[in-house]
Subunit: 229 residues, 2 copies
Amino acid sequence: MFKEFGSGGLGLADNSGARVAHSSELDALIALEHIGMRRSFTRDEEIYAEGDRSDCWFRVVAGTVRSCKLLADGRRHIPEFFFAGDSFGLDAADERFASAEAVGDVVVMRYPRGATERLLDERPELARRMCSATLRGLTHAHARMLLLGRMTATERVASFLLELAERRDAKRAVELPMSRYDIADYLGLTIETVSRVLSAFKRDGAIAVPSPHRIEFRDRNMLAELCEA
Amino acid sequence: MFKEFGSGGLGLADNSGARVAHSSELDALIALEHIGMRRSFTRDEEIYAEGDRSDCWFRVVAGTVRSCKLLADGRRHIPEFFFAGDSFGLDAADERFASAEAVGDVVVMRYPRGATERLLDERPELARRMCSATLRGLTHAHARMLLLGRMTATERVASFLLELAERRDAKRAVELPMSRYDIADYLGLTIETVSRVLSAFKRDGAIAVPSPHRIEFRDRNMLAELCEA
DNA sequence: CGCCAGTTTGACCAAGATCAACGCAAGTGG
DNA sequence: CCACTTGCGTTGATCTTGGTCAAACTGGCG
């Protein structure tokens, strides 16, 4: 069910686009790289906080980023994970709705908002790309609402594993860079439920779990059947 | 918590924008109106179906539209309602992810995709507006994920009432154009739970319900406290 | 070796779903 | 004009899924 992902890439690392960027587009992408700055973060470090001014956006170079939203009583929700090549932090409001944190060690490019907007004015092709990345993000958000609103715990975990596999282009196994807490808060469940569902999948021979952060697919069909609309 | 809404308007009916459109922008918006066609739909009529080619998008002129996603076993989810002034159906994928249906009698403007794209190429201001409407839609989607993933039934219904009131600019009372089924599928609950929560609010003096489709606020604070992050 | 964080497992509990009955107003047809 | 139906909405009783609380396991590291 997950054909569309994240806020997506913008093209440099984009291997899903049908056409190769022609030269003016390529120029634009190179120009974009010039206004960006490389930044590194370590595990659990905050890239930006809820309520910060959203005066820049990012692209993941390496590692995994989670965005987080906290409720007053401590309940946490993770609207999205971002992997290498994904953009994040491009926001309509000028205050951050959610924070962004490094799941492990992370390298990102940071693009200031002002310079980006000037660039977009000059390069309509780039603006187009940016817009369609946002649109893809919206599609993905809709798929996630369906998951959170109407799917069972089993279906959620199965969808999650397959989504991850597809995003990371993994056929036989998938690395889980995030903790059970992160997975639970992404899926609207508790760590115990996530753990139990994974154990059930293991029992049923759908997956193997050689280490808590690695899942091997044994019967991918079984998982796929669980989450098809 | 709901400061940002739907896929938003694009300007003609937009009273929230800080600046008045200057003349070239206005031209662009008028040009947009020229490529649109007025269409009417009656209660429960389908505006487009899941899987249709997404070769156009719409703006609601009057009435309420729901978008719908059906799971194989009949479970339904409503990712979004659209009211007068909201745009919908602008999609990244070229197949519709969800259908759109008229909640009651509805009038919409229909804009073909091709003509829109040509217009956007000529009018960067309009493209900018379009893009930021999409971005607002994404913010709203994130708020909805939080609701579906982490909020209780009581909090969901309270948020829903306040969201509706804010979107329709209603201070003391709000009209519910949709059925309890629609509300339930929007909030990831059942009709029974929605009904029970409304009854509880009534008992507690937070609202009055003179008719099933009209809610009057008696203690808005009580509702607000229930859903603040 | 023992500690610690993260994960798993088990026993129990509760929020919300399900199933079923009832209410109520708007049609409909005799 | 009044029975009868029909489509929603409400309420109540019971059940289930997933949450809560608590204990046990596991692998890495001082």
